[in-house]
Amino acid sequence: MDISGVFDYLIGFAIMAMIYAIFTLGLNVHWGFTGLFNIGIAGFFALGAYTAALLTSPPPDPTQFEDFIFGGNLAQLGLFDLGIDLWFFVGVAAAAVVCGIVALVIGTITLRLSDDYLSIATLGIAESVRFFFLNEKWAANGSKGLYRIPKFMGDLVAPESYDYFYVVVVLIVLAILFVAVQRAARSPWGRVLRAIREDEVTTAASGKNVFHFKLQSFVFGAMIMGIGGALFAHHVRFLSPLTFDPLLATFVIWAMLMVGGSGNNLGAILGAFVVWGIWAGTQFLPGIFSDPSFRLLMIGVLIVAIMLLRPGGLLGEWRRIVERRPASATGREPAGPD
């Protein structure tokens, strides 16, 4: 591989790592700030991806080989054959909205109950979404998948340098989301979420409506995940239900947050790059070491090492330090040995 090939590879790597960073940011809102145990990230990932894909795909073209072969009986049109063909960013926004609505419904039902119910519900929704798109062939072509997902501004950018354009698009979206989450996390809103994570009873006794804040956090995080799904769909440009298996669409994202530092937005992004680097990098190892099982084992080893050596992740939770005016900071007795 020559040097430009290496560079092409790194750009492709950066796109995937940044898309994963978006999911990790969403999970950080859920788990890192609020303590919501979402183990069904794959569900929002898939919903976002399918929503964007369905809304932006052009109508089928019978002169195209794939449409003729895979499209099957064109007389029996499915949702995916409507060719809604909307603008890229409409699809991205719709992905966020759909994920937000689904999160609102699940959250309203389960967030009043104890934490376990939310986990079970998210796991359930992830599998439901996958089986919906697998079995309801009218919606998204079942296991044959969606393959007509357009490139954003694909007509204007040369195909051989398209990734160099798309990496900038993903970077801009990630940057906007990072600023939005960072602002929210360091505001009084984020303070209430962290208080809920620490102790719901105290937070309620401090006059906060715990349920409402949990619901807001759940919806906000799910919308971020939906946006990640939409960017993913336009990057790989082929979706089938098999894409969203729990391993690469839920577990890996949890690993990223744990490694990078739960409760730290920069840590979430760093973790996405580190874990995806290990996952993608180990495929070049010789022989048995490039087996998926071995590569997964490497991620497991990394998690254990992080948990033992740096339990807070590579970057721990950020702590707000307030400087006092020197006059009032001194001269106080310690508040007593107990």
């Binding site: 505001s187 009084p188 303070r191 401090s206 702590r319 707000r320 007593g336």
Partner: protein
């Protein structure tokens, strides 16, 4: 301290009325047709042997638990069955017997959480009007630092609350109540695990809040010296209901109270 005849204010309307409140946990009746009044401006003590139902009564009044039956009336309005954030909004605040600090947040953040109606608690205003949020934040921060000065925790402002000692956590519990403008504060054993010096500070803070800010206190406490010095009237609970009520000196002479504490037949053996 608080005994300048406050129990003579009997004709003013009670700030808190508990009427025949019962709470069952399965087969256990923790609170049994309990009725009591708390008069505005008082520092009322609530004592009784372990298992008398005092903390459960607090949980019922603050909304952490819903009563099985009976009425709880705060400033003329029924609050039985309201959720904790709703009773807080009406001016009622409580602390916890075992401190429930927010461990992985700083002491300052523990306090800055409390003030109600913060604009920055709306997600969109953190994006759209950050300057408003920042202005309110600096005001709340100044207030929190003042409160920390009051309870002698100022030097620990940036410390994670989980790292405080047991006594410091108790002070943090009290400090939380000073961050809001409650009209009734329920303190659950504020003195437990605090040394004498700290307890004096704590008492001074309670009296100051009572006098200067017109806060009414209902205090569960086992330290009798604290109760007899601070509280008037004193209400005694045993087996889920009120068995006696009066001035500290009257309570001390009441044979029913002795009986409840000693568990024997004090009055019957004579």
């Amino acid at each position: 301290m608080g005994s300048e005849g406050k129990s003579e204010l009997t004709n003013s309307r009670p700030i808190l009325q508990v009427r025949s409140v019962t709470k069952d946990f399965g087969g256990v009746r923790a609170v049994d047709r309990c009725s009591l009044d708390v008069l505005p401006g008082t520092i009322t003590g609530l004592i009784g042997p372990n298992g008398a139902g005092k903390t459960t009564l607090f949980n019922l009044v603050a909304g952490t638990l819903a009563p099985t039956s009976g009425h709880i009336i705060f400033e003329g309005q029924a609050i039985g069955g309201l959720r904790p954030h709703q009773t807080f909004a009406r001016g009622l605040m409580r602390t916890f017997q075992i401190p429930r600090e927010l461990r992985r947040m700083t002491v300052l953040e523990n306090l800055m959480l409390v003030p109600a109606r913060q604009t920055g608690e709306r997600l969109w205003s953190t994006w759209l009007t950050p300057w408003q949020v920042a202005r309110q934040e600096s005001r709340i921060q100044a207030q929190a630092l003042e409160v920390l000065d009051l309870v002698n925790l100022a030097h620990l402002a940036n410390e994670l609350a989980g790292n405080l000692s047991g006594g410091q956590k108790k002070l943090l519990e009290l400090a939380r109540t000073l961050m809001a403008e409650p009209r009734l504060v329920l303190l659950d054993e504020p003195g437990a695990g605090i040394n004498r010096t700290l307890l004096r500070d704590l008492s001074a803070n309670i009296v100051r809040a009572s006098v200067e800010r017109n806060v009414t206190f209902l205090i569960i406490e086992h330290d009798m010296r604290f109760v007899m010095n601070m509280c008037d009237p004193v209400i005694v609970m045993a087996n889920g209901s009120v068995i006696s009520e009066g001035t500290p000196s009257a309570i001390q002479r009441d044979p029913r109270v002795l009986e409840a504490y000693l568990g024997g037949r004090v009055s019957g053996t004579a």
